[in-house]
Subunit: 168 residues, 2 copies
């Protein structure tokens, strides 16, 4: 397969993949494009390569910067801003995990704390079913929270090595 075709396929599939994970298609495509681009790109490069509007490009780049997946780069003597993405996939995954933990897991755990001490007789089937499910989720969520904390701090070699031992 030729490079150009392979790049297109990668970008398009990474975009489709994103939509299954609550990330919008364009944002995932910009991320894909920047990951496979050896040099930083300008907003106009991205617009041209993905054939999308200036506004769309700008908003999604900004969102990628918020997620910590893309950085602004100032190039010596250039007026325009350039953008670049982390290319080490392990670092990318860690960054995504870190953000999603903060944005989703932590608020969910807070909610569960509130919901767990619902009024009513634990003998009531309805009350029991509810609190059992809520505490189960809370327990698993707390475990996940701790595990992810360690993972976020870990080096790739350490993590993969440990997992290898654990999971053969």
């Amino acid at each position: 397969m030729k490079l150009q075709e392979a790049r297109q396929q990668f970008i398009s599939n990474w975009g489709a993949f994103g939509t299954h994970w609550g990330i919008n298609r364009t944002m995932a495509q910009i991320h894909a494009l920047l990951m496979i681009s050896p040099d930083p790109l300008t907003q106009d490069d991205i617009m041209a390569q993905l054939d999308i509007s200036r506004g769309n490009t700008n908003m999604n780049i900004r969102e990628l910067i918020n997620w910590g997946l893309v950085d602004r780069v100032i190039l010596h003597g250039e007026r325009k801003e350039y953008f670049t993405a982390e290319k080490d996939i392990w670092k990318v995954v860690r960054q995504i995990v870190k953000e999603r933990k903060k944005r989703e897991l932590e608020p969910m755990l807070q909610l569960l704390d509130k919901l767990e001490d619902v009024e009513g007789d634990k003998r009531d089937k309805q009350v029991k079913a509810f609190t059992d499910v809520v505490s189960g989720i809370k327990k698993l969520g707390k475990q996940a929270d701790k595990t992810l904390d360690v993972m976020i701090r870990a080096e790739e070699s350490w993590f993969v090595g440990s997992l290898m031992k654990l999971f053969r």
Copy 2:
């Protein structure tokens, strides 16, 4: 907090949570409702409690059944079908992991295999950047694939126990 309010909050938040993970709101809400319901419910119960149409209810129940998260139940001497959801959150998570692995991770790995052997000189910066990223993702993906396989087969106690040791 009163049970009814807590249930409402749980259902509504579980729905919002789902949308961040590529699952539609209603499907996640039906799942939430069934998880906290001690007894199986009919389609009409679900329609009434979530205030949604028959068609919507039916389609999303079927989808939940496809995901292996909800089961049809025939109740002795009853004409109507009843539905129930797995309440052990560890089993729920394992089932979701299993499905997503099959639906997303495996096809992605197949694609990466194809994309990895792109034509062209490895000295070419463009080619190198592309293949480096693709092989990096493939490597991590394969590791994840193996790890998840073991997780799917594991008992909760084994998994949590091992993680505890590993991650303090």
